[in-house]
Structure formats: C-alpha cells, structure tokens
Amino acid sequence: MSDPAFLSLAQAAQAVRSGDIAPHALLHACRARIEHWQPRINSFISQEEHSGNPAGALAGVPLAHKDMFYRAGCVSNCGSKILRGFVARETSTALTRLDEAGAIQIGTLNMAEFAYGPTGHNEHWGDCRNPWNTEYIAGGSSSGSAASVAARLVFGALGSDTGGSVRLPAAACGVSGLKTTWGRVSRHGAMPLSASLDTVGPLARSAEDCALLLGAIAGLDPLDPLSAREPIEDYGAAIARRARGLAVAISTAWIERDAEPEIAAAVLAAASVLRASGARLIEVEPPDFDTLSAHCLVVMQAEASAQHAKWMRERPADYGSAVRARLEAGYAIPATVYLEALRLRAAWLERFCSTTLAAADLYILPTIGVRVPTLAQTGPMGGTDMPRLLAQVTRLTRWVNYLGVPALAIPCGFDSRGLPISMQLVGRPFAEATLLAAGHAFQSETDWHQRAPT
C-alpha cells in the first residue's frame, strides 16, 4: 500500500471504520513524516497523543492543533514567551468535540505569537516555514496548522481566524481553510484575541475534509456566551449538492485590475470551472474592502490591546517586536471610534448581503491578491516596503471578519515560482454548507488540492 499519510481525512476515517487500516498505521505514517519535515518547516511545537472516542466518525484519525486550544493539564504556549509552559485548567469545546468524534490529537502546532501576525514569523519558537519553499512565509497566524496539513504530517488541524489567520496560511501553503461565521464554533477554551472577530475553523486537504471537521465542532455551546443558536447542517452530506444552480458573484474587472496577473488568471480560471460545473456567474461591484478593513483593524487593535493591557504594562519586553508594535497601536484607538465601528457593523453586513449577494449565493475573489512573499521580505529586517507588503497580504481577508460571514479558502493554482495561489468563497451568515459544496464541486474537477510538496 502507498503511504497512508497521503489519504484524505475522509478516506482515512473510512479506512479505519471499514478495518482496512489500523489507527496505529496512520499514526506511524504521520510520525515518520513529522520526523522528516519538522527540521525543515518547524510546524510542530510539541508531540503528544490524546485518543478520542473509538466509535466516533473520525476515530483513529491523527490531527494536531494550533497551540492555543486548551486541554486540561496540558501546556498551551500560545506562540509566546509570556505563556510559555502555561498549563490549562479546562479543555476547549472544539477539542472536546473532536475527542468525542474519535480523532487523535498528536501534537500542538506553531503559530504567530498570541495569534497576532499574518506571516508565521515567531521570535520565541522559531519561524514556521512554507513546505513548498522554506524561504517563503507559511502565512499566519495558524502557520503550523497549514504547513503541517500541506506537508501531510496530519489529516487536519484547527486554526483561529480574527483577520485572516485560517485563510492566509491555507492560501500560502496550498490547503483548504474555512473561516466560520462568527459564533458558529465555540471559542470556549481557545485563547482570545478579539472577541468581536475571533472565529475557530478547520484547515484540511479539501473542502470535503473541512466539512467533516466542521460537522464535529460546530454548534451552540453554553460555555461560550457568544455562541450562535442557529441550527447546524449535515456538512458532510451538504457537499453532495455540488455547484449546479449556484449563483456566484464575481468582480472580474476589479480582479484583473487589482490582483497580480498570475493570481488574477488563476482565480478567473477557477470561476470558469465553477461555471462549467453548473454555477451561474454574476458580475457585481466589489465591496468597499478598504473601509471594511479599516473598521476591522480598529476593532481588532482596540480589543487585542485591552486583552493584553496587564502584560503590556508589566512586561512589554517579553513580546516579540512586531507583536508589541501591533499592541501599542491599539492604545491609540479612541473608544468612540471603536464603538462607532461596532455600531456600523450590522449596516455593512446588510449592505453586503443586499448588494454583492443580492442575486448570488457566494462571492469569489483571491484570498491574497499578491504572490506569497518571502520570510525575509516580511520579517524584522524587511525594510521600508514591509508595511505596504503586509497590508497587501491581509487586504482581502480582514473585511470578511468585520462582516462576520463565512469564507472558504481553497487552492486554485501555482505561480511561476511554484508557490500556491488561493481563491476565497465568501457567503451569507451560516452558509458554510454552500461554500463547502462549491469548494467540493471545484475540487472534483481539479487536482490543485491533491498536490503535495516534496
């Protein structure tokens, strides 16, 4: 049999259920790949083993998660020096639900310090590197999650997304990543960054695999006061709907004008694949990304800086330089500006749904409008162009968090340097099933998601 680490999560779970493969064989395959890849990409923080319910739908499937999902009695460093060795007293709801589904957690994964950075740099735990080319960023803040899934070290991973932290690394590493609707997945026991924006979501090799993970973790949680009461769907079954009859909004002229040529060509080709699969494309004006991103940043900065105020007063030198600078910025956000951004949020959501999505089920655009940059370009020695480059990397993800809607990032090509290109499907609140169905339809016609770095 070929290396079982190359099975999809859905195939691995099925193989365990049918008895075609033993869980220890999956574990062995993953461990062997971790040994090979870890020195190159630094995606794991710890290796451990927590077994789940052997009768669950994901029984025996090895996963690992961003080092910010608490497990009682275990360490969550949150990518930081300040919380190095922090032992959690309770287990996050997302991990509890994956345990109930039978998944095996085999480790914790590298991340940006306190999930506050879009590149995967980490001054305390070492930079996570892109498995397609280790000179390039893995994306952040769920850097280890995306890099580990891409290198086939695990079958899936949890990440968090406050301004793009699931989608950016998914895009840079060529995997599928789902930013869930705000409140769809419990944040209980997950390190907070910005309560108004934080979401928990899966990264995996395909939309189908994301659907299986979402099915395990989604739903109301009394332990998270911001958890949504909306009923969950059978996401695994929903992907069978495919793309026929879906209306897909797109801003073709804007993509051609705004995105780098290789990115634009790949995303427009992906839209054509959806159309060939039975979807209808509808031209729309692009949303006001810059205003929405500004509001997102105002909210994120104010909330993150309030969250970290005690440590910023008492031990600012224990933060990495980039994270300290981001936190400093939040103390210069006037309270009235912060509250006004929150008060405007409902109006912007309604405008998005009544204009961009007025006649469509989802909106398609690049996840990152520029090609994946290098670690050197975006690191501490990145030079004067670095802030502009980082702004370009995050420009197309933050607006989604401000609106609170779901978005699926999936690979749709490679650039001329061999780095992945990703598209983003953005839907109405709680329309995860629609996005996953469209993503699955696309991945049924293409093989970008099946390619793995060597």
């Binding site: 500004a294 105020a309 600012p316 929150l342 405007l344 109006a347 309604e350 109405r428 329309a431």
Partner: protein, 69 residues
C-alpha cells in the same frame, strides 16, 4: 472642522496615560499609521446614516436576519 492630526508626542502621551511605555523610536511611525487608519475609518460613507439606536449588540441579530432564506 478638520480633526487634529496625531503627532508622535500625542501618541506617547496617550499611551503613557494608560501606563504603556512605547518602544524606542516608535512614536513617529505609529502616529502616521494611526492617523491613516482613523482617517480610513472616518471616511465610511454609511457613517452619516447611522441611527441613534444602532448599537454593537445589534450585529448578532443582523447575522440571523441576513442568513440565506
């Protein structure tokens, strides 16, 4: 009326009032960045139509209202 621009000194003072010590040589750059961010937020075309009873907690209801029928 034109809003007063953030300056390096104002940033340092605002942070100091909250007990936050700014890293060395950060004031000028932070003042520019925050001015740009606050200008972008203030340029919001929906701001003028914001009604008195719009409140942050209304967002959760908007999510439910805007989901697919």
């Amino acid at each position: 009326m034109v809003a007063k621009q953030w300056s390096s000194e104002a940033i340092v003072a605002a942070l100091a009032a909250q007990g936050i010590e700014l890293a060395p040589a950060r004031g000028e750059r932070l003042a520019r960045a925050q001015q740009s961010l606050l200008d972008a937020s203030a340029a919001d075309p929906l701001r003028a139509a914001l009604v008195l009873d719009a409140e942050p907690a209304g967002f959760a209801a908007a999510l439910a209202r805007c989901k697919a029928k």
